[in-house]
């Protein structure tokens, strides 16, 4: 295992535990910088993410930062969505799925580049809430 693979795993873990697109790091590393096929890259990332997310959720749960009632409701719908997603993957194949992934990356990447600071957003939201009240 080379150093770049190690770094990809490390950064993917850091960003993944924050819900910041850790998956994107590993899928990008595998599909863009190695010869791994698109669907295999995605599958590796999904398996990789399970223990990472489990550890993160245990820590967040211990710190009482998880709203279980709410998250489980969304997750239940998410399971149905995942099944539909898989059917789509199967139908579209690796090549088209890779292009969709690329488009999503460009869209989300541009959004990240022009992101306002959290403080600015929080201030703006606070103003909105005050107005709504």
């Amino acid at each position: 295992m080379n150093i770049s693979a190690l770094l990809a795993g490390l950064f993917s873990g850091i960003l993944g535990s924050m819900g910041l697109g850790g998956g994107a790091v590993l899928v990008i590393y595998l599909s863009v910088f190695t010869d791994t096929g698109q669907l295999t890259s995605q599958g590796i990332n999904l398996i990789f993410f399970i223990p990472i997310a489990a550890v993160s959720v245990i820590i967040y749960s211990y710190k009482k930062q998880i709203k279980w009632k709410y998250t489980l409701k969304i997750a239940a719908w998410g399971l149905a969505g995942a099944a539909v997603g898989l059917l789509l993957t199967d139908f579209l194949g690796g090549k088209i799925t890779g292009k969709i992934f690329g488009l999503l990356l460009i869209f989300l990447g541009i959004k990240e580049i022009f992101r306002k600071s959290d403080k600015t957003v929080a201030k703006k939201e606070k103003t909105c809430y005050t107005k709504n009240e």
Partner: protein, 121 residues
């Protein structure tokens, strides 16, 4: 009653969208979950930690389906896990301490670059 239905609908649409993207692309569920959770009233940091809790069961099902479809073998992911776990523990502590605006912006540039590479592949 009206409010209840609206909330339920939002929950369903949020869950379905996150699940579908995560299942289709094997990633991206978290990035989508954070803004959607924020829209439903959670603050920035809560949205990040709860997003991971939402994605975990979705990823388990998606991974099982990917394995079932033979897109991937279980052992292919194993080499990345130790470094990933180390990163995850670091990440959960960093989340409370930093506002990674510039990290996100640099990561954004990297994403655009990778996206273009994937489109041209």
């Amino acid at each position: 009653m009206k409010k209840f239905s609206k909330t339920s609908l939002l929950t369903a649409v949020t869950g379905l969208t996150i699940g579908m993207v995560n299942g289709l692309l094997g990633a991206g569920g978290g990035m989508l979950a954070v803004p959607l959770l924020k829209k439903s009233g959670l603050d920035q940091k809560e949205a990040h930690s709860n997003a991971v809790a939402v994605i975990l069961p979705i990823s388990i099902l998606s991974a099982a389906l990917y394995l079932y479809k033979n897109y991937v073998g279980l052992t292919q992911a194993l080499p990345y896990i130790p470094a990933g776990l180390l990163g995850a523990v670091a990440g959960t502590y960093l989340l409370k301490k930093i506002s990674p605006l510039w990290l996100k912006r640099i990561f954004g540039l990297f994403m655009v670059y990778a996206g273009v590479r994937l489109l041209l592949k």
